[in-house]
């Protein structure tokens, strides 16, 4: 069965790009969220196998969302996809419980590679 | 015909038969002071509401609190009569309503400051086209005191 992914990014364009990449590679997009608040709510509702998480988002940032998702489900698998590739931010995301950190712009193969590793 | 362009933070005055033009008013406010009888007009492109501790002598047009008195002074020196003066303003848009720190609506603050300072110097505000979320171009015809406002993708209209 296809692994189900929750795609979290504040721009519709990036959600669409990720959806294309994921669906082409045998993943199912269970849902999309445009900010951290929506991400937490959608996670609880959809219980996806894996989440791609942006960091810089309105209302609630990705790091806070990761913490809340993991507090609710310690087994949650989150891969960060953010343009903010600064060391302190990467460390913060990983220590919040993210499994991997992809810096935008990324090659589609890198996303699939990371998801296969995390969700596989 | 003379055409004077007023850049951000500047103020200029013209008499007779010319035009004062300012382009790209975003959160800035264009303030026109007009004396039609004497064919004198002044235009300021106000950038922020308050000069605070910083009173610029060379760029009074930058702030509402320094621009209005300086503009008034300049049109009076060119021969305008104080009791014949009327004001028209445009601008003060909120271009980035979703930006971080957007609760700070500079455009609205500018409009309110300009209105207040016009009241303080006793020049009646007879027309305005303010706020919204789009930029404006402003053309002041000095001889008849008409002011034309235009936004991107919209037709020009008289204020």
């Amino acid at each position: 069965m296809a692994k189900r992914v929750l795609v979290v990014d504040d721009t519709a364009f990036m959600r669409m790009s990720l959806r294309n990449v994921l669906e082409k590679n045998g993943y199912e997009v269970a849902g999309e969220a445009a900010d951290g608040e929506e991400a937490v709510a959608k996670y609880q509702e959809l219980k996806p196998d894996v989440v791609t998480m942006d960091i810089t988002m309105p209302k609630k940032d990705g790091i806070t969302a990761i913490k809340e998702i993991l507090a609710d489900d310690p087994g949650a698998k989150v891969v960060v996809c953010s343009a903010m590739g600064q060391k302190p931010m990467v460390i913060e995301a990983l220590s919040a419980g993210a499994k991997d950190f992809l810096v935008k712009p990324f090659q589609p193969e890198r996303v699939i590679e990371a998801l296969n590793k995390v969700a596989g | 015909m003379t055409e004077l362009f007023v850049n951000m933070g500047e103020l200029k005055v013209l008499e007779g038969n010319g035009r004062l033009i300012t382009v790209g008013l975003g959160s800035c406010v264009g303030v026109a002071l007009l004396d039609v009888q004497n064919k004198v007009a002044g235009l300021a492109h106000v950038f922020l509401a308050n000069s605070g501790n910083h009173k610029p002598s060379d760029q009074p047009g930058k702030f509402a609190d320094t621009a209005i008195p300086a503009l008034l002074d300049s049109v009076l020196k060119k021969g305008a009569r104080r009791y014949q003066l009327k004001a028209k303003i445009a601008g003060g848009a909120h271009l980035f309503p979703t930006a971080a720190g957007a609760s700070l609506n500079v455009g609205k603050q500018n409009v309110e400051a300009v209105r207040r300072h016009l009241r303080e110097v006793g020049v009646p505000l007879v027309a305005e086209d303010v706020e919204g979320s789009y930029g404006r171009k402003l053309v002041v015809n000095v001889d008849d005191g008409t002011v034309i406002v235009q936004a991107i993708g919209q037709s020009a209209r008289e204020l």
Binding site: D10, T11, A12, F13, M14, M16, T56, M57, P58, S82, A83, M84, G85, Q86, K87, P88, M89, V103, K104, P105, Q107 | N7, M8, G9, E10, V23, G24, L25, G26, S27, C28, F47, L48, S51, G52, H54, P56, D58, Q59, K62, F63, A93, L95, F96, P97, T98, A99, A100, G101, A102, L104, V106, G107, N110, S133, Y134, G135, R136, K137, I152
Partner: protein, 206 residues
């Protein structure tokens, strides 16, 4: 701290070099986004100018542009604009989606917002690597309007009251297309203080 006299040649040089490194990384990011197209970056400038003169930096006030505005916070504050003429914006989205684009519809604007986000974050990532400072970009805000209105609103957002503004500017051109873009950074005083003390071991204004 933004005034002309207070920046020494050494400090200006340092700002330019940082601008170079930031813009270099932003260029690579943009190039990757555009499917490894070759990009030319004009050497960044540190421009110190008066408010009325800043309009010249964006190619005149009346040109219609897409402007993306991002504020920087974290260990230092600043304001960053990624601006491109409307026709360049259309070309950019066209390259991204692989077909000609004639209108800036919602998806095109979303794409541009994401490009702005990635380009500016890449710029800041390089500055962060260089200085060790954590520089956090805000969610990007976007406007399509006259360059004067867009740039003026960003300057006003920066609440500049000083006579002179320091702007760190970088320009890009994409090989074989009519694509021009600009990154402009208006740092707050604490940015200068931090980077000068980290990289020159001095206090700003010394």
């Amino acid at each position: 701290m933004r005034s002309r006299d207070e920046l020494t040649p050494m400090q200006q040089d340092l700002l330019r070099e940082l601008g170079n490194i930031g813009a270099g990384n932003a260029t690579s990011a943009l190039s990757t986004l555009l499917g490894d197209k070759r990009l030319d970056m004009v050497v960044p400038e540190v421009v110190v100018c008066s408010l009325p003169d800043t309009m010249g930096l964006v190619g005149g006030p009346e040109m219609v542009v897409v402007g993306i505005y991002i504020t920087m916070s974290g260990d230092a504050d600043g304001h960053i604009a990624f601006m491109l003429p409307k026709d360049s914006a259309l070309s950019l989205v066209g390259i991204l989606v692989g077909m000609p684009v004639e209108e800036l519809d919602e998806m095109a604007l979303s794409a541009l917002q994401e490009v702005g986000n990635i380009v500016v974050a890449s710029y800041l990532n390089a500055l962060s690597d260089m200085t060790g400072l954590k520089l956090v970009p805000s969610v990007p805000a976007l406007a399509v309007d006259m360059a004067g209105a867009v740039w003026g609103a960003i300057l006003a957002g920066a609440q500049i009251t000083e006579d002179f503004i320091t702007v760190i500017k970088a320009a890009f051109q994409v090989d074989g297309t009519s694509l021009d873009a600009l990154i402009m950074m208006i740092p707050e005083a604490d940015y200068f203080e931090r980077i000068f003390s980290i990289l020159l071991g001095t206090e700003a204004g010394e």
